[in-house]
């Protein structure tokens, strides 16, 4: 999105941005079609590591990177991949990038790699990435696919960060490892347990649904 058309009317920067035909590919992943809250995709490897904000952020960014790269490559190769073997080819492309990010995380922080464990490898089977490759990147050009990948990836990261923060604040009384709750705060142990993941997501979805219904005037 290198060129933003000059808007002659006095609508301002943001509305001109909103009117740009390509902006939609980017923004809809952030909120309207948020992969976690609206499409409920790619939960499997994500809920498991969202017990602290930092883990959730790392997982989100790793997934966003793989999503972006696979979107680019699938979009570039869409004319060369035979239709019958497309899913297998997409998975191979995704697996390659996941292997790369796995080694990158290992190089950056051993602790983080230990915390996320096998769940980094499990990004391969994140339904979100495959569904974007199949539903979007294989039908659109590279620049649109980049925007779509960025939007969906950031939307996914945002959602994971919400779940992770919620679970860490109530479960450990801290955020990004910084303890701010008063010392007599009783930690909700359930929030860091697996059940807490289900409950936090259900709670966030509830809020999301509430606003959606309110907007529709019900």
């Amino acid at each position: 999105m290198s060129t933003i058309p000059q808007n002659k009317s006095d609508k301002g920067f943001f509305s001109s941005l909103a009117n740009h035909p390509n902006t939609d590919e980017f923004t809809r992943g952030l909120w309207r079609d948020n992969p976690v809250f609206v499409q409920v995709l790619g939960m499997c490897p994500s809920l498991a590591v969202s017990n602290s904000a930092i883990n959730a952020l790392a997982m989100g960014l790793a997934t966003a990177f793989v999503l972006l790269m696979s979107n680019i490559l699938v979009s570039l190769l869409k004319d060369f991949i035979p239709k019958q073997v497309r899913i297998a080819s997409y998975i191979l492309i995704i697996a390659t990038f996941v292997t790369i990010i796995d080694y990158v995380i290992q190089a950056v922080s051993i602790d983080l790699h230990k915390n996320l464990g096998a769940f980094i490898s499990l990004i391969v089977v994140n339904c979100l990435i495959l569904s974007r490759a199949e539903a979007f990147a294989s039908k659109n050009n590279v620049s649109k696919s980049i925007l779509d990948g960025l939007g969906m990836g950031l939307g996914f990261t945002f959602a994971l960060l919400c779940i992770g923060s919620l679970r860490e604040i109530f479960g450990s009384g801290s955020l990004f490892g910084y303890e701010f709750m008063p010392s007599n705060f009783e930690k909700w142990v359930i929030m860091v347990l697996p059940a807490g993941g289900f409950f936090s997501l259900a709670f966030l979805l509830l809020i999301f649904n509430y606003f959606k219904l309110k907007k529709e005037g019900l």
Binding site: L92, L122, C127, A195, A202
Partner: protein
Amino acid sequence: MNNESLWSIFINTSLINNFVLAYFLGICSFLGVSSKVETGLKMGAAVTFVMVISALCAYGINALLTAINAPFLQLISYIVVIASTVQLVEMFVKKTSPALFKALGIFLPLITTNCAILAVALFQTSKGYGLLQSFVYALGGGIGFTLAMVLMAGLREQLVFSETVSVAKGTVIVLLVAGILSLSFMGFAGLGG
């Protein structure tokens, strides 16, 4: 080499560390297909089958990759094995039971992206299980998955008759039920060794 006993592996994977309820693996198909007990049961059987086959193949592949010193190919070769096994199951089900094929629909090819299956292959490698241990691990995982699926489907069949607040309809209520189910599975924690 890990010398955990077979029985403890089985109890551990099927009940205590249930793939769905403790590790959040296979949530997509867990939420998607678990609206009827019968479909849930058959889906569980298909997943268990693919799991066992791919776990055994993964054991062989891992031995080979260690021998030629190429661990970075691990992930890619595992996923190829799983994808081909799923293809095989798909052809088999289509031939023997077209009704089931229809009921499972899109979720049958999606077994490929069922995290639980890849997870079995990855976890068994990182734990250093032998051939027999891998087999029991995959079997336990599959049975645990089926168990969670059937329990969930049973609850959802009853849920249809209850009045749900309009905000909580759909995914939200299912997630809440899953959370409670996950809590109750924590009761098994003292069982294993």
